[in-house]
């Protein structure tokens, strides 16, 4: 899903950079006031883990491949603001060191994978947990992660669709192509996120009790007392 230089129109590049810079500022300010000491090691591990996970390209539809994003796990476990910073670290280093994602498309790539792919799962899970009062938690984790991946793909498709002078397919082709193909990855993302969140709830309730999406759940509060 990493967009290289040359795919996006200048307008789309500039607008996505502006939106991303606003989210970076908010994320740094919010993280500075909320990141707990216990979350520091897990933030390092998860960032390294999903950088590595993005190196695996799974065959999906029609000879294409896709990779996990990790945004759902980062957003749900660390919270969306720290999750955004984690994904930004991955995307910046991928762009600068490996040429994976263009520097002019960095704003768009962070917006897709580090903001939409992180914030949507985190806030969707929070809302679903409030409605269900914590029942069927892992099912909601799966749905939130799946939705985050598809939303990120739709956003990337929309950015390509709006870059008509460069990318002539337009919205009607770019958005469905990205959404359909990446929904397959969304299922894998959902399962991985579910397994990771489930394991950490059992093994590290102290860390999960700091997650804004999970901290109010009885299961987290009980296991951390």
């Amino acid at each position: 899903m990493h967009i290289p230089d040359g795919f996006l129109s200048p307008t789309v590049s500039i607008v996505t950079f502006i939106v991303t810079i606003v989210f970076w500022a908010i994320s740094f300010m919010k993280t500075k006031n909320s990141l707990d000491e216990r979350q520091v090691p897990i933030m390092g591990v998860l960032t390294a883990l999903f950088f590595a996970a993005q190196m695996m390209n799974y065959p999906i539809v029609g000879g294409t491949t896709g990779h996990l994003l990790g945004g759902a796990s980062l957003g749900i476990i660390l919270g969306p603001y720290a999750g955004c910073i984690s994904m930004t670290i991955i995307l910046v280093l991928q762009s600068l060191l490996f040429g994976d994602g263009g520097i002019t498309a960095l704003g768009a790539n962070v917006l897709n994978m580090g903001i939409i792919g992180v914030f949507i799962p985190a806030f969707l899970l929070l809302a679903l947990n409030k409605i269900s009062k914590g029942k069927d938690l892992l099912a909601w984790v799966f749905i939130s992660a799946f939705a985050g991946d598809v939303a990120a793909a739709v956003s990337a498709g929309a950015q390509l669709g709006f870059s008509v002078p460069t990318f002539q397919y337009g919205l009607s082709v770019a958005v469905p192509a990205m959404a359909i193909n990446h929904s397959v990855i969304g299922v894998i993302e959902g399962v991985v996120t579910m397994v990771l969140v489930g394991a950490l709830l059992k093994l590290r309730p102290d860390v999960m009790s700091k997650s804004p999406s999970l901290k109010d759940l009885p299961i987290v509060q009980e296991s951390n007392t």
Binding site: V40, M43, M55, G63, L97
Partner: protein
């Protein structure tokens, strides 16, 4: 239930680091040996339109390979070093950002 004390948290952190980084290394190995081929949807669509995505910056390790050492073992070595570097960078940033003790 017993309250988790500081010593047990340190042990849990150490176990989390060991397991998490070991899994990351396994991902790097599998990514280089099994799931290395990449042809993403947007690359296919770009090829159909004959749009070329040339990056402006010359990355030192394009396509996740060490120049002059373009095989899967070079990729694994680079992937492991990069994973550990990202871990260290993130720990540094997270330590700067964490809540200060009152």
């Amino acid at each position: 239930m017993t309250k988790i004390n500081r010593e047990s948290i340190k042990n849990l952190d150490r176990n989390t680091l060991i397991v998490g980084l070991a899994v990351a290394v396994i991902f790097v190995v599998i990514g280089n040996l099994v799931f290395a081929y990449a042809m993403e949807t947007l690359d296919v669509k770009a090829e159909e339109l004959e749009v070329t995505g040339e990056n402006i910056l010359n990355a030192p390790f394009p396509e996740y390979v060490i120049p002059g050492f373009e095989n899967e073992w070079g990729g694994i070595l680079l992937g492991v070093v990069a994973t550990l570097a990202i871990f260290a960078v993130t720990l540094g940033i997270a330590n700067l950002l964490k809540k200060k003790k009152e």
